[in-house]
C-alpha cells in the first residue's frame, strides 16, 4: 500500500560508535573470526553463545564498579526488569556453566565470539560495540590450563601471520602482587584501591600516579613505585615464595611450547575484579598502537555468585577492533575476494532464461554464480562483475546457446578461454 512519503528524510548513518559491515568489511571480519575458530577448535574448544540481553544483576557482583555504573547500556523493560546489553562475556559463560555444573564434564573447553557493548566515548581502538573471542577452560586447578590458554593466545597471533617481534605477552600473578601488598601492610580495601591505581598507570601522568599512591601509603609509596619499575628488584624484595616459583614455572612451560616472547610485568592488573591468579596481555609493539591487544587470566571464584561449587577457570577475551588495528599496522589484512566465482552476462534479455539454466548447472557443481538480469550492454554487465570483485565472466548469446561453448574471461588477467560447462569448475577452482 503506497503511504505518504515522510517529510523528513531519514539519516543513512549508523548509530554512534557502532559499525556497518559492507561485504568488504565483513570479509575482513570473517577472516578474523575464521582464524580464531580454526586455532581454538584445534585445541578442542566447543562453541557456545547466548543473547546480548542479560539481567543487570549479573554484572553487579564482580565486574568492577566503574564498568557497571558508568559504562553499560542498562535500561528497564516494560515488565520492570533491569536489562543490560552485555559489556563482557565472562559473567555469561560463568552463568551457563553454573546452571549445569552437575551434568557438564570437566575439563570443559568452551569458546564464543559475542558482540559486546560499552557506553563510552568512541575513540581509536574503543568503540561502543565490538566483537570478542572468548576462550575459557573450566575445572583445571594446575597451571596446565594457564599454559594452554596463553599458548592459544600466542598461536592466534601466529595464525594471522604475526612475527614474534610484532608483539609481547606480558604476564603477572595477582597472588604475587598480594604478597607485595602484605609486605607493605596494605589491608584489603587499600589493596583494592592500589590495584585500581596501578591499572590506570599508563593512562595518567607519573606525578598523578605517585600522588595517588602517596595518598594511600604515605612515605612508603616511593619504595613501592620503585619496586614496580624493576622486575629483578621486585623479585629480590619478595624473596623466594610459592607464587614467584609458579610464575617462573609457567614461563618455562610456555618456552617449551615455543612461546618465547613473554615478559613478567608486575604492573599488569586487568580491569575486572574477578581475577584471582595469573593475568596476561598480548601487547602490540607497533608505535602506532603500542598497547594491549587482548588478555585474560585465572578466575577461580566467579561461579560462587550463583551459589555453585567452586570451579577453577582460566580464560581470555580478544577484541576485533584492537586486533584489526594490529593487523592493519603490520600489513596482515588479506585482499577482498567474494565467494562468487562466475558472473553470467546475457547478450540480450532473450537469453536470461538460458543464463539462469546454465547458472543452475554450475551451482550443482559447487560453483557460486551470479546472473545479470538488467538487459544492459554486455560491457556494462562486465563492469558490474568487476565492481563486485567477481573473478570470471561468462557471456551467453545465440552462438553460445547453439554451440554450448562459452567465452570464460578472467577479469584480473584479461585472458579469455572458450569452454564447455563441465570444464569451468577446473578453471575457476
Amino acid at each position: 500500500m503506497a503511504k505518504e512519503k515522510p517529510e523528513i528524510k531519514i539519516s543513512t548513518e549508523s548509530y554512534k560508535g557502532v559499525r556497518d559491515f559492507y561485504p568488504e568489511d565483513l570479509f575482513v571480519q570473517n577472516h578474523i573470526f575464521d582464524t580464531w575458530r580454526r586455532v581454538v577448535e584445534s585445541f578442542g574448544y566447543s562453541e557456545y553463545t547466548a543473547s546480548v540481553l542479560e539481567s543487570a544483576e549479573l554484572y553487579k557482583a564482580k565486574s568492577g564498579e566503574e564498568i557497571v555504573n558508568e559504562q553499560t547500556y542498562t535500561f528497564t523493560d516494560r515488565g520492570d526488569r533491569e536489562v543490560t546489553l552485555r559489556p563482557e562475556m565472562t559473567p555469561t559463560v560463568a552463568r551457563l556453566v553454573a546452571a549445569r555444573e552437575k551434568t557438564l564434564a570437566f575439563p570443559l573447553r568452551w569458546y564464543s565470539i559475542p558482540n559486546l557493548f560499552r557506553y563510552e566515548k568512541p575513540q581509536r581502538g574503543r568503540l561502543r560495540e565490538h566483537w570478542q573471542l572468548n576462550v575459557d577452560i573450566f575445572g583445571v586447578n594446575s597451571n596446565e590450563a594457564d599454559v594452554e590458554v596463553i599458548t592459544i593466545a600466542y598461536g592466534i597471533m601466529k595464525a594471522f601471520g604475526a612475527k614474534d617481534s610484532d608483539f609481547i605477552i606480558k604476564i603477572n600473578d595477582r597472588k604475587l602482587v598480594n604478597v607485595l601488598y602484605e609486605k607493605f601492610g596494605l589491608d584489603e580495601e587499600n589493596s583494592h584501591k592500589v590495584s585500581k591505581i596501578i591499572d590506570k598507570k599508563d593512562k595518567i601522568s607519573k606525578s598523578t600516579f605517585e600522588a595517588s599512591l602517596f595518598e594511600i601509603m604515605g612515605e612508603k609509596s616511593v619504595e613501592f613505585a620503585f619496586l614496580l619499575e624493576s622486575n629483578d628488584k621486585l623479585l629480590d624484595h619478595l624473596g623466594e615464595n610459592k607464587h614467584s616459583k609458579e610464575l617462573i614455572d609457567l614461563i618455562d612451560k610456555l618456552e617449551k611450547n615455543g612461546v618465547k616472547n613473554v615478559a613478567f610485568d608486575p604492573t599488569l592488573m586487568r580491569g575486572f575484579d574477578y581475577y584471582t591468579g595469573v593475568v596476561f596481555e598480548v601487547f602490540d609493539v607497533h608505535p602506532d598502537n603500542n598497547r594491549s591487544v587482548y588478555g585474560g587470566g585465572r578466575y577461580d571464584d566467579l561461579l560462587d555468585i550463583f551459589g555453585a561449587r567452586k570451579i577453577p577457570a582460566f580464560g581470555f577475551g580478544a577484541g576485533d577492533v584492537t586486533l584489526k588495528d594490529f593487523l592493519m599496522s603490520h600489513e596482515l589484512i588479506p585482499k577482498y575476494t567474494p565467494k562468487t566465482k562466475v558472473y553470467i552476462c546475457s547478450l540480450s534479455s532473450d537469453f536470461i532464461d538460458e543464463s539462469n539454466s546454465i547458472a543452475m548447472k554450475l551451482r550443482e557443481q559447487g560453483i557460486n554464480v551470479e546472473v545479470d538480469f538488467t538487459g544492459k550492454k554486455v560491457g556494462d554487465q562486465i563492469k558490474t562483475a568487476s565492481k563486485h570483485g567477481v573473478p570470471f565472466t561468462l557471456v551467453v548469446g545465440e552462438n553460445e546457446v547453439k554451440t554450448e561453448i562459452y567465452p570464460l574471461k578472467n577479469l584480473e588477467t584479461g585472458e579469455e578461454k572458450k569452454v564447455k560447462l563441465e570444464e569451468i569448475v577446473e578453471v575457476v577452482g
Copy 2:
C-alpha cells in the same frame, strides 16, 4: 582481589524470551546458518551485517505502527538519542544501500543473518530474540528477481532435506489486491485497514473477521469475503489484467525452475507496510505447526525514506525459531557431533607433558585434539571424552612413550587400534 561473597545468589537463568546456546544447541544453529549460507552464496549473494542498535526513527516511516509502538525494545541513551534493538533487518539493509547508492553496482545481491528483537509475550515459534536469514536483490524491476528469490527460498527447504509435500509456497500480489480494493470502491485509508484485517484473518474468529470487514465496507463485505475464499472466482471477478497475467507468468517461471508446490493466496498480506508487489510465504503443512515458516516480497519504495533514488528490491527473511520447529517436526535435525576428534588421556600426571606434545603434532595435521589435565583415572577421563561426544580417545603412558605406538579407541564402536601418530589422521578422517 578477593571480595566479599554477594549475599543474594544470582540466578543462572537467561533473560525472559531469549535463549542460551550450549554447544549442542549451537551445533543445530550452525547447521541452520551453514545451510542458509551455502544455498544463498551459490546464487552469488554476498554477506553484510550491521549493529543490533539502530536509531528509532529508522522504523517509524514504514514498518507498520503496531510493530514500532508496541513491539520494539526502544530506549533513550544518555546522549538523549532514541535507540531501538532492531526488530527486522529490511530498514537496515535499505539504509546501507541508500548510503552508497552512487558507488554500488546493481543488480546487488546481499544476505545477512542478524539477530532481531521483538518485545512480546514469548510463545511457540515466537521468542523475544531470534536470528533471521535476510536475502535481498536490489536494482531489478523485472520478475526475474522475484523468481530467483523464491527459488532460493525453495532451495533452502530442499537443502535441509524437506520434501515438496512438507511445505507449500503461498503467493500473492499487493497490486492485484489493490485492483480488488478499487473495484470495491475502497479509498487508501480503508484499503490499509482492510489489509490489516486480512493479515489477521488466521488469528481471529470468522465472525470477528466478518464483523470487522462489515464495519468498513457494509453490505459489500459479504461478497468481498466470499471472493477471498476462492481463487477462481476472484480471478474471474478481476478479469484479465496486467497484474494477474504477471502472477501467472511468475508461477510458470517458478515451475520451470522445479518449484511446483506454489499456490496463489489472495489473503496473504505480510505484516509490513513497505511491500509494493508480489509477496510470498513458505508454509509448513505439518499439523503441529501449520503456519508460515518465513516469507518476503517486493518493496520498491523503501529507499525513498532516505531521499535516495528509487531502487527496486525483492527479498525475504527466514527465522531460525520457526524453521527449527519445522525441522524438528519433520525429523530433519542432524545428530550432534563436536569438531574435536581425539581426546588424549594420560595414564598419570607424569605424562601430561608428553600428551601435550602429541596433541601439538596431531593439530599440525589438522586434527582437533583435547587433552585431559585432571590426573583422574583413565576410565574417568574416557567418560569425560564420551560426555563431550568426542569420537576417539588415545591413551598415553610409559609404554606408549617408549614404543611411539598408541591405542586409539573408537568410543562408538568400542574398537581399539594400535597406531603410530602419522596413521591417526586416516582413522579419524
